[in-house]
Every structure is written in C-alpha cells, then in structure tokens.
C-alpha cells in the first residue's frame, strides 16, 4: 500500500524544541483540508483529531476506504459546514498517517525510529500544528475544535497562542489526565509491549507486527469509549451466530465478537509504536500543573470565545472534568458556554449521530461566525 500519494505533506523547516528536550528539524506534517479558504482568510477551522484519528476528517478516507472519523459532524451543511468554512486537520506528530512518527526512518541509523523516537506531548503536537497557519497565510483561525485528545489540543492551542483563534470548542475532554485515564492507557501499552512480536519496538525491521497486543489494547480502550447502558442495549447477552453456549473460549457472545472485530480492523490501520507514543502524550497532559495548579492562568487575557460540551454517559472524560475547565474560565471572566449532552453512547458520543450534540455544535459555530462578520 503506497499511502504517500494520497497524503498531502508539509515539511516543517522551522526547528521545533520538544518538551523532552530534543529538537526536531525538517519534519513532515501530513494534513488534509475541506472547503475553501475565503478571501479574508477568516473562515478557517482547525480540527484536532483524537488518539486513533487522522487528518481524513470526512468523506472517504483514501487509505482505509472507510468514512472519515468525523463524517457525522463535518461536511456540506453539517455542524462544521464545509460550504462555509475551510477545515484543516493534520495528523499529530507521533502518529502514523504521514506525520513525523516512530515509523519514520531515522536518517542517522537508516532504520525506523521505533522507540528511539522522542517522547512527544500535546504541547509539542500543537506547536507543530501552528505551522499550518503560516502555510495557509492565516492570521487568526475562526475556530479550533476537537474531542477527547483533540479537545486537549484545543485547550493547549488557545493557551499557547491566545490570539490565534476567535472561538474554541473543546469536547469531552479534560485539562489533566486522570489516574483512571492513565491506567487504561497503561493497560493498552502493556498489551502491546507484552506481545513478543513487538520486539522492543523494532518489529518493522524484523518483518513482524505486534498485532495481537495492539488489538487487545484497542479492545480494552473501546470498552472505555462506550457506556454500560449502551453496551447492554446493543448486545446484552446475545449470542454470536449460535443457539447456545459452546462451553469453550470462542466468541460465544456478540460483544466478544464485536470487540475482536474492532481489534482486528484497528491493526490494519494503526501503528503499535504510535499507539504507545500518543497515549503517553495524553498521560503527560496536565495543563493545571503547567500553570502551577491554577488552570485559569492557562487562559489569562484570552479573548477566545469558548463552548464546551460533555456527555452524560461519558465516564472516561466525565462532565465534572469538563466543568472544571468552565469554572477556570469563568473565574477569569472569559466568554464560555457549556452544555452537557444527554446521550447513552458514552465517550464515543462526539463521533456518532447524536443530534443534540451536532445541533449545538452547528448553532454555536454558525452564530459566532455571523456575529463575527457583523463586527467586521
């Protein structure tokens, strides 16, 4: 599979000093755009993807041949209306869809980086992304939007570049990764590194893949994206193509078969080392600590208008963690709206067809955009 020909890549010339201390130079950033940038260049929305997302937000992903990860929300007349806005999304550094990551070749050793790749952070990701603004000659984005890890990037972006986004929509996220979040990520990493095919991260040069481990990591994570109620309603104790229990360890239950399927399709499109790096970046995310225990200071003097959303059944990034961001913003008189969306689809709600969510997102963006144009 030659993925390169379908991937737009920008080579970032400006050296980027990472939080770990290393500096990266001339690194690739893979991106995709949707819609048209208007003459005033004031209709651009930078979308940040979540852990396993990529730059192919909507339409058919040319690599996986499946719908883009946010097809429900992004497209003509959708919440993020590509007839109106110019949508940019880039693969995070550390990722595996063309941006600089552990599956790239190390020019010094002529081998793939693997675990020699520097540990990256959410801060590093947005510092890499901001180069897209220069590339498109955009002074100020109309909005920065993202869910889950994408939401963390939204927060970090506004904190790092307070005058580069008119509006910001962090969805189902947190300002500081919780012990539970770290625990689940560690479970995933352990599953990968325990696979003997992982080979200390050098699986590429040994022509093998730790796909069992990566699949287990995905299965475990997938459970955290759903809710108990959602699972119960969708699967209950329904059996998988059989009339009775088989008294063995095959997938008797539909939920087992479903998880196995989720794991197996994931390994076809995702790199195990990238999974290690990106989950690590999430775990290291602590905007509260970065600002000495006071989250409000992360947004000091921000003029950005925020709209934060959480979901009732999301137990991975629960409402309270989203509300903490609202509280920090209100404490400094920032412009922030907030709503908790009723949904039994768990953390995944932001990726799915949840009309209340999609409407709220659309209404916030479209109204803010009109207001913005009236002011100018």
């Amino acid at each position: 599979m030659n993925i390169r020909e379908n991937i737009k890549t920008l080579i970032i010339e400006k050296p980027l000093k990472l939080d770990c201390g290393q500096t990266i130079r001339k690194f690739p950033l893979a991106y995709e755009t949707y819609g048209k940038l208007n003459e005033n260049k004031d209709n651009a929305i930078l979308v940040f993807h979540a852990l396993t997302g990529d730059q192919f937000v909507t339409g058919i992903n040319p690599i996986t041949k499946k719908d883009g990860w946010w097809s429900y929300a992004v497209g003509p007349n959708k919440s993020i209306d590509t007839d109106k806005y110019f949508v940019i999304c880039a693969n995070v550094i550390g990722g595996c869809m063309g941006s600089f990551g552990p599956s790239h070749e190390n020019p010094e050793t002529k081998k793939k980086y693997g675990t020699d790749f520097p540990v990256i952070t959410i801060n590093d990701m947005v510092n890499a992304h901001v180069n897209l603004l220069d590339f498109f000659n955009i002074k100020k984005l109309f909005s920065v939007v993202g869910g889950s890890m994408g939401g963390m990037q939204v927060l970090q972006f506004v904190s790092n570049f307070p005058d580069k986004a008119k509006t910001a929509v962090p969805i189902a996220c947190t300002s500081s990764h919780s012990a539970q979040n770290i625990a689940f990520n560690e479970l995933g990493r352990q599953a990968i590194t325990a696979d003997h095919n992982w080979m200390d991260g050098k699986y590429n040069s040994k022509n093998t893949l730790p796909d069992k481990g990566l699949a287990v990591a995905r299965m475990a994570a997938h459970i955290t994206y759903l809710s108990k109620k959602g699972l119960q309603e969708k699967f209950g104790r329904k059996l998988q193509e059989r009339d009775d229990l088989k008294f063995g360890f095959d997938a008797d239950f539909q939920i087992e078969s479903y998880l196995r399927y989720q794991g197996s399709v994931f390994v076809d499109r995702f790199d195990a080392n990238s999974y290690l790096y990106i989950t690590r970046a999430m775990d290291y995310f602590d905007l509260v600590k970065q600002f000495d225990g006071n989250l409000s200071n992360a947004f000091k003097e921000t003029k950005t208008k925020f709209f934060i959303m959480s979901f009732t059944s999301d137990w991975l990034y629960p409402t309270q963690e989203n509300k903490d961001i609202v509280i920090a913003l209100n404490a400094i008189g920032a412009n922030v709206g907030f709503v908790e969306i009723e949904s039994d689809k768990g953390h995944d709600s932001f990726l799915l067809e949840v009309p209340d969510f999609l409407n709220a997102l659309k209404n916030f963006l479209d109204k803010s955009y009109t207001e913005n144009n009236n002011e100018n």
């Binding site: 209100n330 404490a331 008189g333 709206g337 709503v339 209404n363």
Partner: protein, 199 residues
C-alpha cells in the same frame, strides 16, 4: 416576552455586564443585549433551554444557581438578574447572598403570593392557589418557597441587604413601592421587582 422585561431593562444601565441566572430560553438576554448593549451571560438548569440559547448565539452555561454561582469571583458582573425563581430554591438566603457576591447589584423579581387573587383562592376555595403565573398543583410545583412583596422587604432586613428600588407590577403598569403604600401594592401587585445591593 414577559411584561416585566421592559421594566428590568429600565433598571439596567447601558453597556454594563450582566449575568442572567435561570435565563430560560434567553428572551430577556436577547432583549437586554439589543436594547441596552450589555455584555450578558446566562446560567440555565434545563438542557433544552440551554440549547435554545446557544441557537440564539447567547453565551450560556448549564448549571444550578445554588451550586454553580460559586465559580464566579466577587463582583464579576455589574448586575445579576434572577427572574421569578427565588421561590424555587432550597435555600433562598444563600442564593441572594451569592447573587450579591457575584454581582455589584442584583435585580430580583418575585411572583407575589400576597396578591388578592391568591388570597381569595385560599380563602374561598380552601385549596392551594392556582393562577396563570402559578399554574402548578401543590404537589408538583417547583415553587417551594413562595413569598409576598412584604415578605421580601422583611427578608432584606433579616439577612441585611439593601433594596435600592422596589416596583410592583399591576395590570401591566409599574409603580413604586413605598412604606406608605406597601399594604396596597402587596394586595394588588402581581409581581415585585427589586434592585438590591449589599449594605
């Protein structure tokens, strides 16, 4: 639009900052934004109403005045508005204190339980009053702490806040409440509108 919105707008100075507590569908917020050019925010407990506000381009957070006002620092707003909901809180005293901490001044409106129709209802029917502004039965009303205009004035003395302006709404007309006319205003007023601040 509710009749009292005009009178609330008259109290609020142009270009000020306002927080509407229990902003409902944002009608008052829009009205104040348009007519008074205020910088306005809202808090609303109902998700559906918050959604309506967002669709109107208003900045609103989903929340409860008893729990969620504490996130705002002292004197965050020139005015905090509490429209016809004081009676629905478990602890109105805490709410009033919070309003006056968050806002330099507060505008509080109360449906007057001292109104003659309410009094007659109870006197002749012997059942809990149901009127157009108080449409619920006793067992499903959110209004657990009904008070009269007179009660609210006494409340200001008990918990020590200052009433700068007090108005009674009678038949879509507004009039000042004073010590000498409070008996009549409390009898005929449908709604009390109070501008208050800390002593």
């Amino acid at each position: 639009m509710k009749t009292e919105y005009n009178f609330i707008a008259n109290i609020i100075e142009k270009n000020s900052t306002v927080l509407d507590v229990g902003c409902d569908d944002g009608t008052l917020m829009e009205f104040l934004r348009k007519n008074k050019n205020v910088n306005i925010r809202g808090i609303e407990i109902s998700k559906e109403k918050v959604q309506i506000c967002i669709a109107k381009g208003l900045t609103v957070i989903e929340g409860n005045a008893e729990l969620d006002l504490k996130q705002f620092p002292k004197n965050s707003f020139d005015y905090v508005v509490l429209g016809q909901t004081l009676q629905a809180f478990i602890n109105p005293e805490i709410v009033i204190k919070e309003l006056l901490r968050v806002g330099k001044k507060a505008v509080v409106t109360i449906p007057n339980f001292g109104n003659w129709k309410v009094r007659l209802d109870l006197l002749f029917k012997g059942t809990m009053p149901i009127t157009s502004s108080l449409p619920h039965e006793w067992y499903n009303t959110p209004n657990i702490h009904m008070c009269t205009i007179k009660d609210f004035v006494r409340f200001s003395e008990t918990i020590n806040f200052k009433i700068i302006k007090s108005l009674a709404l009678i038949n879509k007309n507004i009039s000042n409440i004073s010590k000498s006319n409070i008996f009549l205003k409390n009898l005929f007023g449908e709604l009390g509108i109070f501008l208050i601040e800390n002593k």
